[in-house]
């Protein structure tokens, strides 16, 4: 029954996007209402869908002829995360976007981006994935340039060029897969791979997919666009881009294709581990020296995405080399859980930075100081998120990092575990710097008259802060079976995915 709700995950954002564009031209309040309504309804639907598993066949054409949408554990988890972050971002936008004109265009593009991401998460067809990828990307190029100032346009152009190269590589990958197998349906391709068919063309395709999606996910050799694009966008958009866009378009799509479609082998596992380690270390060292708050956060995004790739890549490597599957499950659980955690705390950090920017008008840490007495809400949420990203025990970031470290030690990768802990310490140092310069110390003369940012922005931050504190509970045996366990199983099953999807339809 619940499966009938599945199309609305894409239909609601896309429909309301154009509805807003059509009707809310004159009234920005109507645009606010429609935008919040849309994200709230997809949040509700995504929660209703948590226990549902299955295949939705678009237009009644069965695969491999038609397009099918697949809802399994992993897509469920990412859907909930996307819906949650976009809901918080739209609440935040109602007040924050007052600085900008043309609010209907903002919400229209925002919802297009959300619809595109939901499509990427749900689809079970390679070309459909490419189309939704481009819908979300094009909307995000425009959103990065939304302010139309020097930096924004420059960042947007850089992002557009690099990301288009990524998309072209993905399209080449799709073409190679189609040429080699004659199918575009992920499950049908997975079915061919499950028979043990190893094809060099598919290896080429896999490499193209890895490079293409790594550009979208901004992993370290392909990262240069991210530190420009993410800080330049308006704060709620930064939160969306850093929080969910790079995950849904880059990391999720990469995992889905490597694990479930092409099937993992040792080479790809090693590649993921190396990429993860590189992103972690390079990202964090670049971040330490930054004085622009949002740019610092953007570099930390690269570093934290490294954790996700490392965790899942480690699990994949262990699986491919025939190691213990419980260790692999632990590593993948760590990676996937860190994906969800990072979405929450990084969005919270970006929203906090937006709130500080809204009040003080600056992003430079050196120009801030002493905000502890003026902005109590922002200070609390920002501290929670900082401790969370640094991996301090009661908060969510700690648990996922702990899982990755334990898995690495159990698998015998002691050096990897050491690097993981080291990076975590550097992250802590970097965020102590943020807290010290932004909130402690003397209040500068010109910031004497500022106020705390509006209450609605505080509400959005508080929601995410609660999740930061509480998400560790998801690891308890009861709740774990709801979200995390199915997500891990979806990846571990590998090319078994094909059998499940094709029989389910």
């Amino acid at each position: 029954m619940n499966m009938a709700l599945l199309p609305s995950m894409v239909a609601i954002p896309l429909g309301i996007a154009f509805f807003t564009y059509l009707l809310a031209r004159k009234s920005s309040i109507l645009a606010d209402i429609l935008g919040n309504l849309a994200t709230f309804s997809i949040l509700v639907i995504s929660i209703l869908l948590i226990k549902t598993r299955g295949v939705y066949v678009i237009g009644g054409w069965n695969p491999p002829i038609g397009i099918n949408w697949v809802l399994d554990g992993l897509s469920n988890l990412v859907l909930v995360v996307v819906a949650l972050i976009s809901f918080a971002a739209t609440i935040f936008s109602t007040r924050y976007m007052e600085q900008y004109t043309a609010r209907y265009k903002y919400y229209s593009l925002f919802l297009l981006m959300v619809g595109g991401m939901n499509g990427v998460i749900l689809t079970g067809d390679l070309f459909n994935l490419f189309v939704f990828l481009e819908v979300a990307s094009v909307a995000s190029y425009a959103l990065v340039a939304f302010g139309c100032n020097h930096e924004e346009l420059e960042a947007s152009f850089k992002y557009l060029v690099l990301s288009s190269i990524g998309s072209t590589l993905v399209l080449f990958g799709v073409a190679f897969v189609y040429g080699a197998t004659g199918y575009l349906n992920m499950a049908s391709i997975g079915g061919i791979m499950a028979t043990g068919n190893q094809n060099t063309i598919l290896t080429v395709a896999a490499v193209l997919f890895i490079v293409g999606f790594c550009i979208k996910a901004a992993l370290v050799p392909f990262h240069p666009w991210l530190p420009d694009a993410h800080p330049s966008a308006p704060a709620p958009i930064s939160a969306m881009l850093s929080g969910v866009l790079i995950k849904a378009l880059g990391v999720y799509a990469l995992f889905r294709i490597l694990f479930n479609v092409i099937g993992l082998n040792q080479l790809y596992g090693t590649l993921l581990i190396v990429l993860g380690l590189l992103s972690m270390t390079v990202g964090v060292f670049l971040a330490v020296g930054q004085w622009d708050f949002k740019r610092l956060l953007a570099y930390h995004s690269i570093s934290q995405m490294g954790y996700v790739i490392l965790g899942v890549g480690l699990g994949g490597y262990i699986l491919a080399t025939g190691g213990s599957s419980s260790v692999a499950a632990l590593a993948i659980l760590g990676g996937i859980f860190h994906l969800a955690n990072h979405a929450v705390f990084k969005s919270l950090l970006f929203l906090s930075s937006g709130s500080i920017e809204y009040s003080t008008g600056t992003r430079q840490l050196k120009e801030m100081g002493g905000l502890i007495s003026i902005m109590p809400v922002t200070r609390t949420t920002c501290s929670i998120a900082s401790l969370s990203i640094a991996g301090v025990p009661p908060f969510n970031g700690f648990w996922s990092k702990l899982l990755i470290v334990i898995a690495a030690i159990q698998a015998g990768f002691h050096a990897v575990a050491g690097i993981t802990i080291l990076v975590s310490f550097i992250t802590l140092i970097s965020f102590l710097k943020v807290l010290r310069y932004a909130f402690l110390g003397e209040l500068p003369e010109k910031l004497k008259n500022i106020k705390e940012s509006p209450a609605l922005m505080g509400v959005a931050q508080a929601i995410l802060a609660l999740f930061c504190i509480g998400m560790g509970l998801l690891l308890l045996p009861g709740p774990r079976e709801f979200l995390l366990e199915p997500a891990v199983n979806a990846l571990i099953q590998g090319v078994e995915y094909a059998r499940i999807v094709l029989s389910g339809s």
Binding site: A4, L6, P7, A11, L14, G15, F18, F19, Y21, L22, Y56, V57, I58, G59, G60
Partner: protein, 162 residues
């Protein structure tokens, strides 16, 4: 004199209707022959672009203003989505072709494929209006150097009034 020479104008006056009709023809027979909503939309947008080139922008915008074009644009998408959602209501599945299930026409007849012509018309609205919009918006903007040396972008029409 706005626009191009008399020859171009006269030819345009004769040809524009046929181009427009050809766009419509491509769209409504899109399920039988090559063509469809996208090709039809491009052809229709071309007929307006031809008007713009031959008679000048004002004449074309009098026929189809930018605001109206973006209304067509959005309503095209909404029409597409509504028909797709009606598929859930009548056929049980998103994008279900509920009309064909009920009224199966003869093969190769004009009314034989249920909802597909409606999708084609929606695509025609979307593509035609947005291509025209893109053309006009990209061609209309000029960069003007202000007196203090800063550059500003204005629509060309505004500058002529100054």
């Amino acid at each position: 004199m706005k626009g191009m020479t008399l020859i171009v104008k006269t030819v345009t006056r004769w040809v524009k209707v046929f181009i427009f009709l050809y766009g419509i023809y491509l769209t409504i027979t899109g399920h039988l022959t090559p063509g469809g909503g996208f090709a039809g939309g491009v052809v229709i947008a071309c007929s307006y672009i031809l008007l713009t080139l031959a008679y000048g922008r004002e004449f074309a915008l009098k026929n189809l203003s930018l605001g109206k074009a973006s209304v067509f644009d959005s309503s095209g998408v909404l029409l597409f989505l509504i028909v797709a959602l009606l598929g859930i209501g009548f056929g049980g599945i998103f994008f279900a072709n509920f009309l064909q299930a009920r009224y199966p026409g003869e093969e190769f007849a004009l009314f034989s494929s249920g909802t597909i012509p409606i999708y084609n018309i929606a695509i025609l609205l979307k593509v035609g209006a947005s291509l025209f919009n893109v053309f006009v918006i990209l061609s209309i903007l000029r960069i003007v150097v202000e007196k203090d040396g800063s550059k500003k972008m204005v629509a060309e029409g505004d500058r002529e009034e100054e």
